[in-house]
Each structure stands twice: as structure tokens, then as C-alpha cells.
Symmetry: C2
Subunit: 454 residues, 2 copies
């Protein structure tokens, strides 16, 4: 045992620490391909706040980097190990400590799985809206680290809007409490929001106070087929300009529609250039759905299929759920995450199609259309170095296009390692300077998830 | 002219600078009584971002404090001058630069009056929800500085939830752009949220990208009279626990009901110990109102008066609008702003009544009951030093009670000068240490609104 593991073991129960390379290798990286991942010296599974404090104090004393991890479902490499680091896996701190329907909040440990919280909330007639597609395995701590989104955001917003307060262990082992349990509060600078989306570079979340909402009615959905991305984009704009707020508004391009068909389950029309899925969950959902169907037709939809009930709605939404697995079958994939103002969505989609054509690659796009948040998925043969280089260039050009259209390089996946070089292009030198100084305030030795985010 | 005014004048148009003591005296303080206010050396009225940058560069060069101001309707002294400072009045930067129904956002300068933005948004079928009671005069810049709330928050949240991005002039004159124009975005640390509520201590907001929402239906309201704060508090909890989300849920105590009656306009029943006002603005509002009426009766309401239409609703809500002016007539007032978890609202109200009795003072309480946000208004004779001291002690005891009940010393008014000593009690030493270091990152010379907030 090294000095590091000896010192760590002093404050940890047996079994909370793994050094076997076969074990630690499993904790090297998240689900982002093409991001470098180092080899951890040790993986620690703390079960208490005090154990996390002990780990951070030890790391500070020995100047060892610490990489916090949830379920490692992230898509930007933010949870990737660096050589010689302590991986701090938070998955055993997974208790729901409180669930309070009157104050509409939950207090949870970071290792709670998103879907477990959702199910526990549902049992009290409540909902925790953020629903990343990995929701059955991803953890709340990881969601907070990345600022995760999902399909719900057009109506319900992203993770950051549901984090009321945090307990965070700082780099030096001190315990910071931020935020509140009240519906409102403006005492002091908003450290809670600063920590959400900070990808473990400012501190380690050990407890979170989360806002819950009353569970809405089951969604009622329609599918509308459009002859072009422009027509679908115009429909999206029209829906929002007319004051509708769908609970879901997703767009699949021709590539993803064909991929889903090829999976052999959906029988979507091959002529579709863009398939728009819109759902409502409010008391007027049937009337809203009918009105939006009319708007889609007026915007040029060749067919509009409204669901009659929840079961039919689920069937329509299944096409969207199949899109990522269907595209994954076509080759190695790089998934991008560029958000633009929704008025620029059609330009974004046409621009991505042009990039695909220019580089001779297949790029499927699914988007959270109501948010203008696109996920272009670049498909290529990873064994072909030249094609891989073209894929990387396409990926970069997609981000450049997003910035050109007034957008952001990441709507919900985070910067991690994958987009670190791009962050400065989006933020500019003044913001980057402040971001680096803020990092230094929280982590003067630079031991917290070094090389990530900023 | 001093060196300061000479240097300022070099980069400002004629008339943008006032040094006449009769003029500058009008810019010494906001609407918080009992907060010290210094005498400014000069008041500047910039009209462009470049002029603001010039002022900050000059202030940095000469080490002169800068106090940003909006309409000075704040209630915590955050806009109060310090001796020899530059008051930076942002009221002439008051253009609405964009109003975009598709992307549901507005781009505004900080001097835009809240109600003007609301009216402009309404013309496009949109709404900017935050509605502090000073909305006809307060500015968006001031709202952002304090993190202002209002009556809408139980359903629509506070100012911070509507700020997507900011342009901010830093202490050294550099221009920082934060945030985004997209519905979502997680690139870098959230500097936008750090700046909202920072009371001008981190930078000067010169432009804001604000989220708008589709305008809801007109509110339908009911009034319910309760024999005790406990019964009213129980009704509030029941409404929220059953999954209702009113667009407004306000509570007036017996003192404020009597004060409104004494104003001679409302004829509210004198036996009422607590008057609860609840409104809905969704498609099911009539049914929701009827259901909440039943819940109120079950919780012990002696009378429930539902409005039949918008006009009747307005009449009911008028009682709430009259409460502050009515209490103001009774003497000098100190208005507090303590928020507690809504489940503790009744304890808070009973506690305030006990404090009033113990000190032999009148304290009226209006509260945003859905948020647990109480505004106890301590009434006293400012000419009576001993009574003034009791008022101050009551004010402090109310904050102590709020903290004891798991609440915050300020739900929406901010810390300013008024509650600065209390901030450390709420945040604790670790958070205070970080807050001070963050301040130093943005303002290393300490020239931005010194002595406020933290």
C-alpha cells in the first residue's frame, strides 16, 4: 500500500477503498468516447459526509487530484480519471433523506438514481422533472454536476432550476452549505447555482435539496411529418409564438427516422424529412393538441397523427426513444449537444446536413426542438483514421455553426474534456478570466477534477 | 470641479453628470429607512455602455467608490450612497432593445421600468412575471440587483429565474457577457446567477436577456376568513400538498385587515384573524378555485368568498394592495422580509404576534403565503427613542425566529445595509469566506457598492 492509500484507509471503513487495477480500471471513464482517460491510484466509495471530508483532506495534504463520479453516464468526459488520482465514487451515498409534499422538496444524497427519486416522488403525487435519457441509471449528483436536461425542458426547464440548496465538501475538506429550503431566498451570492454544472471542479456535492412539482396529467402526443427541416422549424416557431407550451417537442431528421425504421419496429414513412413530436400534459391538452395539429398542417406537414389516449401517445414517443440506439447501430458515434435560439433551429438542421454532405458522412439529428437543443450524431468507422478525422472536423464545425447562430456549444451535456477547447470561443477572454479565478477560490491547489470544464 | 469630476466629464456628454448638492442629495438613499446614507461626490447618468465603462475606469484609477442605482425603490439600503462616491444612476439607459415572441425573450437596458416591460410584453401576448409592489416605478436593473420577487412567485418564481444572460461592466471597466439567448445552456460556471441578487457589488448590469412567458388567463380569486393563523397556515399547506399551484396565495393578519378597514374602503369582517387570498390563472381555474374553497372550509374558514369574474377578483385582491399603505398610516414602519418553509408559516405568524406582544408594539403581517415569505411590518413612533429601540429589537427577533424555523432573513428584498450583520448568521463562516473571496475576484479594490450585501 502506498502512503496515499494508507492515509485514506485511516478514515474509511473496510471495503470503501479499491486499489486492484482490475477494479479501478472500471472507473476510468464515463460514456464519452474519444476523451483521454487516466488510471486512478485508488477508487473510494464513501458512505458518509465525514468520509468525503477525510478523502478531500488527505488529497489536499498529499496534493493528489480527486475525480468525483456518479454513474459515469456522462457524455463529455467530465468524470474521466486522471493518472494517479483518487476516484471518488458517490454511488453508495444513495439515500432519499426527505420527501416533503407540503414544501414540495426532496433532500437526497448524490448517489440517488434519477429514476428512483422520480418513482419515490410519484408515490407522493409529485414529480422531479429533469429526465436525461440515462435516467434509469444516472445519479442526481451527476445530474447536478453536468446540469443535465432531458425531454421535459421545453416546459419544465433543466436540473439547475430544481436545486434549492447543496451541501458540498470543498477541496480542503471544509463543509459548505448553500441555498435554502424555502421557496424563495436572496441572502448572499447564489453559490448553489454556481456549483450546479461545475462538473466537480469546485467541490463534491454530498447532499442536495431539490424542488419537486405536482405530477401533471399523462402526456397526450401527436406526430407530424414534414417535407423539410425548414417547414418543421417553422412549425416549432409558430407553436411557441402562439403561446403554447408543450410538455415535449422533439424533432427527428430523415437520417434518424430511417435508422429507426431499419431497426424494424416503427414503420415510419420513408419520405419524411422531419418528424415532429409534440405533447401536452395540461388540463386543456386535447384542445391544445388539436390546435397544434392545425398549425403543423398550415406549416406544411404532410401528415399529422394525433394520439387518442396515453397508450397511443407512448407509441408515438417510442420512435424518439429508439433514435439513439438505432443510430448507434450504424457505426461509431459522436454525439453533439448544440443549442441555438429556437428561431434558428431550421438553419441549424440545414447547416448540419450541409456539413454531413461536405464531409461525406452520415449525421443523424435528434433535437429537443422546443429548446433549440440539437443532438447531431456523427456516424463513422473508428477503424478508419481518415474518416475519424473527418468526423472530428464535422463535430467541430457543428459547434462553430451553433455559435454563429447565437447558440451554445452545450445545452445539457456539459463541457468536460470533450469541449474544453471550445469553451473559450464561446465565453471570450473576460468571462474565461473570471471563471479561472473563481475556480482558484474554491480549489487553490487545483486538485478537484483537474483539466475538466474550464 | 475636482479631479474626479474633470476626469469623469472627459468621457461623458454634457448633462450626464450632476455635482450640485441640491441635486445629488436626492440620490442619497433608497426607500429603506434607518440605513445610513452618505453624500455622493457626483451623480452620473450614463446613456451608453461605453460611458459606464469610462466611469468605472475612472473610479478604478482614482480609487473612488461607485454606487449603482435604479429607481431607488429598494427596501434594504443597497442603493444608498457612501461619502464621496460616484452614484451611477442607470435610469437613462431605458430602452427595450428586443422583444421576441418566438424565443420568448426580451433584451433590455437596466433602466427599463418593470411595468413598461410588462406592458410591452403584453402587447405581444407575453408576460414578464416578476411583479414587485413597486413595479410601476422600479427598474429591471434594480430588480436584478436585489433578486426581486412579488405576488406571482408561488407559481412563477422570482427575478433570477427570468434572467438568461447579462452584459456587465466590471470594476475595472471591462465588459463581461454572461449566459445565453437559448432556452438551455451549461457552458462554464453560471456567472449570470451569481450576478443576480449581488446588489451592485460585483459589477454594473448594462444589458439583460430576460425570459418571457405566454400571458396566462386573468386570475380568478377567492377570499377566505380564518379564526387563527394556525388554521390559515393549515389551509395553505393543504392546498399545496394536494397539488394545486395558485397564481397567487396571500395572507393578511388581523392587524393588516383592521388597518385596511380603517382606511375606510373594504369593509372586511373585523373578527377575521387571517384573510387568505387565493387565485388561479390556468384553464381549470374555476374548478380549482371551488376545490380550494372546500379545502379552506375543511381547514376551518368561517367564510369563503369566491369571485365570479375578473372584476370581482380584482376587488378581492384590492384588500391586499391596500395593506401596505394602510399600515404605513399607523406610524413609522420597518418592513421585514423573512421566508420560512411554507409548512412553518403558522408558527412564524404566531411567533411574530408573540414578539409584538412582548415588546408592546403593533406588528402587521402580510405574507406571500404560498412561498412562506412573510413581511412583518413593525409600527412605532420614530420620535420615541425607547420605542424605536424596541422596534429594532423586534425586527431582529423576527429574523432570528425565521432562521430558527429553517428560513432565510430575506426572501426578496435583499441584504443591503439593513441585514448585513445578519447575513453571517444565516450563511455561516465557510460560505461567508467564499462569498468574500468571490467579491474580491470581481472587485479587488473594493470600489463597487462598498459595505453592502456581504
Amino acid at each position: 500500500m502506498s502512503d496515499l492509500t494508507d492515509r485514506l484507509a485511516e478514515g474509511l471503513p473496510p471495503g470503501a477503498l479499491a486499489v486492484d487495477p482490475d477494479v479501478t480500471a472500471a472507473y476510468r471513464h464515463d460514456m464519452a468516447d474519444f476523451c483521454p482517460a487516466g488510471t486512478p491510484a485508488v477508487v473510494v466509495f464513501p458512505e458518509t459526509v465525514e468520509q468525503v471530508q477525510h478523502v478531500l483532506r488527505t488529497a489536499t495534504a498529499l496534493r493528489v487530484p480527486v475525480v468525483p463520479q456518479g454513474a459515469r453516464t456522462g457524455l463529455s468526459g467530465a468524470a474521466n480519471a486522471v493518472d494517479g488520482c483518487i476516484v471518488l465514487s458517490m454511488v453508495k451515498m444513495n439515500r432519499i433523506l426527505e420527501l416533503d409534499p407540503v414544501n414540495r422538496l426532496a433532500v437526497v444524497e448524490p448517489g440517488v438514481v434519477n429514476a428512483e427519486l422520480s418513482r419515490a416522488a410519484a408515490a407522493s403525487g409529485l414529480v422531479y422533472p429533469p429526465d436525461p435519457s440515462s435516467w434509469e441509471s444516472c445519479t442526481i449528483g451527476g445530474n447536478i454536476g453536468t446540469g443535465a436536461g432531458g425531454l421535459c425542458c421545453v416546459k419544465y426547464g433543466v436540473t439547475s432550476e430544481y436545486v434549492l440548496g447543496l451541501d458540498v465538501v470543498l477541496a480542503d475538506g471544509r463543509l459548505l452549505s448553500t441555498g435554502r429550503r424555502t421557496a424563495k431566498g436572496v441572502a448572499g451570492y447564489d453559490l448553489t447555482r454556481l456549483l450546479v454544472g461545475s462538473e466537480g471542479t469546485l467541490g463534491v456535492v454530498v447532499r442536495a435539496v431539490l424542488a419537486l412539482r405536482p405530477a401533471p396529467a399523462p402526456q397526450l402526443a401527436l406526430a407530424a411529418e414534414f417535407p423539410s427541416a425548414a417547414a418543421a422549424g417553422a412549425a416549432v416557431c409558430e407553436v411557441m409564438a402562439r403561446g403554447f407550451t408543450p410538455s415535449l417537442m422533439e424533432l427527428m431528421d430523415a437520417v434518424s427516422v430511417r435508422a429507426v425504421n431499419d431497426l424494424g419496429r416503427m414503420g415510419l414513412p420513408e419520405s419524411t424529412q422531419a418528424l415532429l413530436l409534440v405533447a401536452f400534459d395540461g388540463p386543456d391538452r386535447a384542445a391544445e393538441l388539436a390546435a397544434v395539429g392545425e398549425l403543423c398542417r398550415a406549416a406544411g406537414a404532410s401528415e399529422v397523427v394525433p394520439a387518442e389516449d396515453q397508450a397511443e401517445s407512448e407509441l408515438l414517443l417510442e420512435a424518439r426513444r429508439q433514435a439513439l440506439p438505432a443510430l448507434d447501430r450504424l457505426g461509431t458515434t459522436m454525439i453533439d449537444d448544440v443549442a441555438v435560439p429556437r428561431s434558428r433551429l431550421a438553419e441549424m438542421l440545414d447547416g448540419v446536413a450541409a456539413i454531413a454532405e461536405r464531409h461525406g458522412l452520415t449525421i443523424g439529428v435528434v433535437s429537443h426542438a422546443g429548446d433549440g437543443n440539437t443532438h447531431p450524431i456523427v456516424i463513422f468507422d473508428a477503424a478508419d483514421a481518415e474518416q475519424s478525422a473527418r468526423a472530428q472536423r464535422s463535430f467541430d464545425e457543428i459547434m462553430a455553426l451553433g455559435l454563429e447562430l447565437g447558440g451554445t456549444i452545450t445545452g445539457e451535456h456539459g463541457v468536460g474534456l470533450l469541449k474544453r477547447e471550445w469553451l473559450a470561443r464561446e465565453l471570450g477572454p473576460v468571462a474565461m478570466d473570471l471563471q479561472r479565478q473563481l475556480k482558484a477560490v474554491f480549489d487553490p491547489l487545483g486538485i478537484l477534477n483537474p483539466g475538466k470544464a474550464i
